[in-house]
Amino acid sequence: MIDIFKGYKGDAVEILKKYNIRVWGDVEVKTTRGDFYGIVLPRSENDDDKHIVLKLITGYNVGIDVRTITDMKEIGYKEAHYKIPEKEFPYTEGLPKVKLFGTGGTIASRLDYRTGAVIPAFSPGELYGAVPELADICNLETEKLFAVFSENMGPEQYKALAIAIGKEIENGIDGIIIGHGTDTLHHTAAVLSFMIQNSPIPIILVGSQRSSDRPSSDAALNLMHAATAAARSDIAEVMVCMFGPTSDEYGLLHQGTRVRKMHSSYRSTFRTIGDTPIATVTREKITPIKQNYNHRRNDRKVTILPYFDEKVTLLYYYPNMQPDIIYSLIDNGYKGIVIAGTGLGHVNKPLYPAIRKCKELGIPIYMTVQTLWGYVHMFVYDTGRDLMSYGIIPAENMLPEVAFMKLSWALGQTDDLDKVRELMLTPISNDITKREPYNGYLIYQGGIPEVEEFIKKVHK
């Protein structure tokens, strides 16, 4: 059924019906607070039923309290239709061929300014309309795989994405870009790092922290950086490409298994944890930071392993956690657990019986650290040694979310726990590293004179 009252409900609909007013109607409203003129706009469904939204001639929106309305008259009707302009993406002989997969993130978009809805730009033509600079970097093809918000990405999408990327590689594409919402960007990057192995080309995940309907958006620059990395870089890894500093200066290419969103809203929210990023990227060039990465190849020998078991969980430990949490996981048929433990990888004694129960039932438990930086080290204290004897397996310096993705992936392909253990503890894509470089852990502390001096000179 078509919602002719577009978001209005309750008292507001009653008023619209009473005076025979349509959404998009140009109206005169008499109220106890004076007269108002404007066009009735659709209303967000989550808002209350006590107000009607008008667009005034000055372009501003205001709400009218329905309880103050004494009369309404429709004197015109102006429904608005929106579409993003399409310009044909120009083909340039000699430029690399790049494929952009859309998952539903709003990497390039515009706002439907009357309803407030964000309309994603997606076809190559739309993207070109919004970011014409892309045509100087590559010949772009796009494909919309799904339209879900970042937080709704899941196993189905991961597998479909891996398979689609595999096909593109076989067909000879020079680079892949995946447009993705930023909230779970690093989860997808991690799982793709396991599902797509031995890629001969760069696979770049990119998003934006400020949607492209805003003049200060990071979307266009992120997209240009991602296109540059996909088209021209020698780095054949699954990577996340997002802002380095909050300034419009350069992007960073992060290893898909070592990257994490570290701020809820900053542009420079993605950071490599326990290592350095692989490279910096600008519109002009890619500058490697790390020397040992997989180089671009001409062959098409990629391995696609699209497996995922959904009965895996990630448990964030807190003091006085009770064993019933783990028992309920057992009761609900969970097949694997990753714990983010305190310090070097610890949980409290009350959990021990539940942990032992998991071992009896063949439910593997892997230990990671809440501190994010550093290795699990369970030999230092008795607690750790106890836990290992109950079957908990330290996951080295794998990030909790990465261990979760990897365990889901491993259990998706085998029930043989020794095989799972081997998959888990064998580094595939720097998900576990043998060493942590000194500069792999840097969190500046503001207020300290030398740090203040540094941020005065260098853009953070």
Binding site: T31, T32, R33, G34, D35, F36, D47, D48, K50, H51, V53, L56, T58, G59, Y60, N61, V62, G63, I64, D65, R67, T68, A80, K83, I84, P85, L111, D112, Y113, R114, T115, G116, V118, G129, A130, R210, S212, D213, R214, P215, S216, S217, A220, L221, P245, T246, S247, D248, E249, H263, S264, S265, Y266, R267, G446, E452, I455, K456, H459, K460
Partner: protein
Amino acid sequence: MKKFDPTRNNKSTMKKVGYKSRSKSNRKDYEKLGFKSGLEVHQQLATKEKLFCHCPAGIYQDLHDFDAELIRHMRPTLSEMGTYDGTALMEFRTRKNITYRIKNETTCTYDVDDTPPFPINREALKYAIEISLLLQQNIVGELHITRKQYLDGSIPTGFQRTAIVGIEGEIPLKEKNIRIIQLSIEEDACREVSDIAHSRIYTTDRLGIPLIETVTYPEMLTPDEVMEAGQVIRFINRSSGKVRTGIGAGRQDVNVSIEGGTRVEIKGVSHLSWIPELTHNEAFRQKGLLEIKKELLLRINDTDEWKPNFKMINFDISDIEYEPIKKAMDNGWQLVACNLPNFKGILSHFLQPGKTFADELEGRLKVIACLEKPNMVHSEDMNPVFNEDMLKKRSRLLNSGENDAQIVFWAHESDVATAMETIEERCRLAFEEVPNETRKALTDGTTIFERVLPGADRMYPDTDSAPIPIEDEYIDSIRNLLPVNLSERLRQLQKWQIPSDCYVYILKKNLMPLMENIIKDLKVDSKWLGTLFGHKMKFIEGRIIPSVGFDYNLIYSMINFLQIQKIELDIAEKMLPIICLNPQMEFESILNSLEYEKYKKEVILKNVSSLQNMFTKINHSKNPQAAEKWIMGNLRPIALGNIPLRELNDFVLKFLANGGVK
């Protein structure tokens, strides 16, 4: 052939435009022009915190004091029809690197667009509703935060969060009422530190301070009316006691149009007293542009075919004396000559005092192509920099005709294309209309190009904020605290001819009932009484705190006393500070402490002649007013209270004019 004289051309075009100075212009002149003006008055609110974050409001840093910097670029976004806004495109063409200087004390991650907005500052909203009620507006039922795009970088998000609080309303001027379109609450923008070539620097201390914008209908029909409307709105804002004062706390944008012209906005006028001159000159600038259009359409049959001709200068100009060109050549910049067919006499055409059509081009080259001024020379410069030989070569290069005009500009290679487009665009606009633009006010009352006026479709709903309902009970609770009948009181003050800078003081101290009594009972001149309170008393209270027991009613008694004693009221201002400090003191004793003695008028006047005599003996000053000043200074102590000072002054002037001592 007679040589073209740009100075003479400027004079004759000024005559054609009909330019008159403001002092020689009257209401009829503006009527003839079709002068129309509206105001947007911005006023910061005196809140503790900023509008959408919890940074302190109103703390300013030195422009060069900062803890960190960050760099952004603004990108135009698509409008609803899938096109780009005119301003948006222009701003994008300028390719500016925008640097924000931030100080940790006044700037947080919200200010630099790295954190979504916090809920709107309720203190600010309350003040805005209060002022909206003072304007007798219709208050909205629900506040909708809207994004108004600004691509100049003055706000790091690229838009200003703003919302309508009330619509319609009215303010009283002396002779008419002016209607209000709307009042909005919004966040203030950054302060500009510098804007040179491709780099613009802002400091973020002012960013986010809550302000209200009051917009009038374009109903002011003379420059003086515009200023008066500005004064009334400022007064209403201030009478609430909830606004910031001081430099930059109140600023206005003034829009002006004339018959056949266009709505042009003069931005950021920080002093109301500048408004009349600015609007006057803008009206004539538009008239000038209409004259130019008329002239060009006479000369050019098919304006679509009109095209400027650009050529790189290929002849030797190395012995040129002009510094900017020498520097440009040293930097390896390109020197571009341009022929403007049929533009002879247009470049030096009068538009504003001291400004011509060439300034319109120069202004746009600076803003759009980022070429620092001076950025061009032309064939109608008052002081030409090319010699005869160079001019000949330039003519040949461009194949210039007799009726053409020429420009030479210099720019880095990467800016040349934009500069060419800019010149062509502005010249073409001369055939069509007065361009829709915003202009920057200069202190001499003229304006320069600032940017293209943004379109109406740069308003977007803020998807980061939910609408905020404003309930009747809330409005009533604010209404109950308002000063009564503000408009009525305002009318009365206007009728009494009291200067508007006295209004706030008088209303804040609730002095109108007292003044009404004094005027009615004692028949005192209302204008004098108004300034006694609004200037003299305000000044005194700024310096001393009245003692316990002081009451404004004492002023009634004082005036009454002086009238009974037949003492001139001029002396009142001397008595006031003493009354403030010693409210129990007898008026008689106060006069004694002032060493007041009663003299007959004639006695005082008799002294003028001997004083003048004395003055001629000791005078060394060449100042023609020296005698008057010296005599008045000597007579003031005995004159005060005995003869109105103005009367004495008139007498002295007349005496001196008649040749002094006979």
